[in-house]
């Protein structure tokens, strides 16, 4: 996750200290990706080392306040204008699990799919409940929509897997979608 760029983008709106940065980050993203304050300070130290931010003294209560440098501003601008890389897909446990399930004798793939679909649907219902419950601010609303759309995509993909498996089971003499009674024979 781009904590570094996100903090820089927040600092571009004015000097802040670590705890403030954490609070603002979580406000805008609905605490979907919790940040601990230690992580914020480690990142700030690294940003300072790279000349992207500089410490700007302390406020009345002794918090060290950081401000963005010109190099930091350039970095933020570059972040906003560069697409997020899709070349290296993030590791997807579910895709890996299904790929192994269809190739491992004795696994009931149909049940794997069904259980996952129920679980993902339950998550989707939770997200939708959050949307229903009140006036979300725009930023958090969009993050929530992103979670909604990816859960939906996962369910569509599971439906698709199920349909593919059924077709494969019909086309082949030995069913793959259901539990094979004697794995030895299948080998």
């Amino acid at each position: 996750m781009s904590v570094k760029q996100a903090l820089l983008a927040l600092l571009e709106q004015g000097p802040r200290y670590g705890y403030q940065l954490r609070t603002e980050f979580e406000q805008r993203t609905g605490s979907t990706w919790p940040l601990n304050v230690g992580q914020v300070y480690t990142t700030l130290t690294r940003l300072e080392r790279d000349g992207l931010v500089e410490a700007d003294g302390a406020d009345g209560e002794g918090h060290v306040v950081y401000r963005v440098t010109d190099a930091g501003r350039d970095e933020v601008a570059a972040w906003f204008t560069t697409p997020v890389a899709r070349t290296q897909p993030p590791r997807d446990e579910l895709a890996i699990k299904l790929a192994l399930a269809v190739t491992t004798p004795g696994v009931d793939v149909g049940t794997v799919i069904q259980q996952q679909r129920s679980a993902t649907m339950a998550a989707l219902q939770d997200y939708t409940r959050l949307k229903r419950e009140g006036d979300l601010d725009l930023a958090w609303g969009l993050v929530l929509d992103s979670l909604v759309f990816s859960a939906e995509a996962e369910i569509r993909w599971l439906d698709h897997c199920e349909a593919r498996l059924r077709r494969a089971a019909l086309e082949r003499p030995t069913p793959v979608a259901t539990n094979v009674e004697t794995p030895e024979v299948a080998r």
């Binding site: 649907m121 939708t128 569509r156």
Partner: protein, 242 residues
């Protein structure tokens, strides 16, 4: 109060077979489910899974081969054609993907039509229709004709028509199918609000994002309920008490 009395729709071991012999198709196989007042239930499944058949059964437009369908405790099979038609005009509201508004009638006339057909006097029916249009957020469009409305507005009129006159069961068949994602969401918000206000709703959809507005999601495959998610029915009964 008996908790079962808040059940609005009850399908009990419903089987529907079309044709016979080699061409026999089992559209639904021993499907049972209940929808309580205040509850929205989504039915999901691929085409051919039996979800539309389920909805036509619930609305009394088709009868099961075996099993019973009851609306507010009345077995639809005991009603006869005239009785079922009356039930459709007075207790059940439908919302379709393609809105099904009558183009020659204005919004308020479309909404008032089922009540007028049921013998309610025109003035009273129109007043109820205006109130229903107000409820779905488009009182200003009452005198407009369907051709001069956007898809989202037409669907709002259709929802007003489905809820006018205190109907307690709303059956929606892919109501967001012809709408963009944001307009579709507004329609779901309306359906949801109507159920929160005490109606029982069944939403047939193939979109998970829309099904997620429901309290429960029932998955159909080849006419069989394969899975169900969401609130425990017992909780729902308690919640509807509040």
């Amino acid at each position: 109060m008996n908790p079962l009395s808040s059940t609005v729709l009850h399908l009990d071991t419903v089987t529907r077979i079309h044709g016979e012999g080699a061409t026999e198709v089992r559209a639904l196989r021993e499907v049972s489910f209940r929808v309580a007042a205040g509850e929205l239930v989504a039915v999901m499944g691929p085409s051919g899974s039996g979800k539309s058949t389920l909805l036509t059964m619930a609305g009394g437009l088709d009868a099961p081969t075996s099993g019973t369908v009851s609306v507010e405790g009345v077995d639809l099979a005991t009603l006869g054609n005239a009785g079922r038609a009356r039930m459709r005009r007075t207790s059940v509201g439908y919302v379709f993907q393609d809105f099904n508004l009558i183009p020659a009638l204005s919004a308020v006339e479309n909404v008032a039509l089922p009540m007028e057909l049921d013998g309610v006097r025109s003035r009273a029916a129109r007043a109820a229709a205006r109130a229903a249009l107000e409820e779905v957020g488009i009182p200003e469009l009452a005198d407009r004709f369907p051709d001069h409305m956007s898809g989202g507005q037409q669907q709002r009129v259709a929802i007003a028509r489905a809820v006018v006159g205190e109907r307690r069961l709303i059956l929606a068949d892919e109501p967001t199918g012809a709408l963009d994602s944001e307009t579709g969401e507004e329609i779901l918000r309306l359906l949801r609000a109507r159920c929160d206000a005490g109606a029982a709703g069944v939403l047939v959809t193939h979109e998970a994002r829309h099904a997620a507005w429901a309290d429960r999601v029932v998955f159909l495959r080849d006419g069989v309920v394969v899975d169900e998610t969401g609130a425990d029915p017992a909780d729902v009964l308690l919640e509807s008490r509040r």
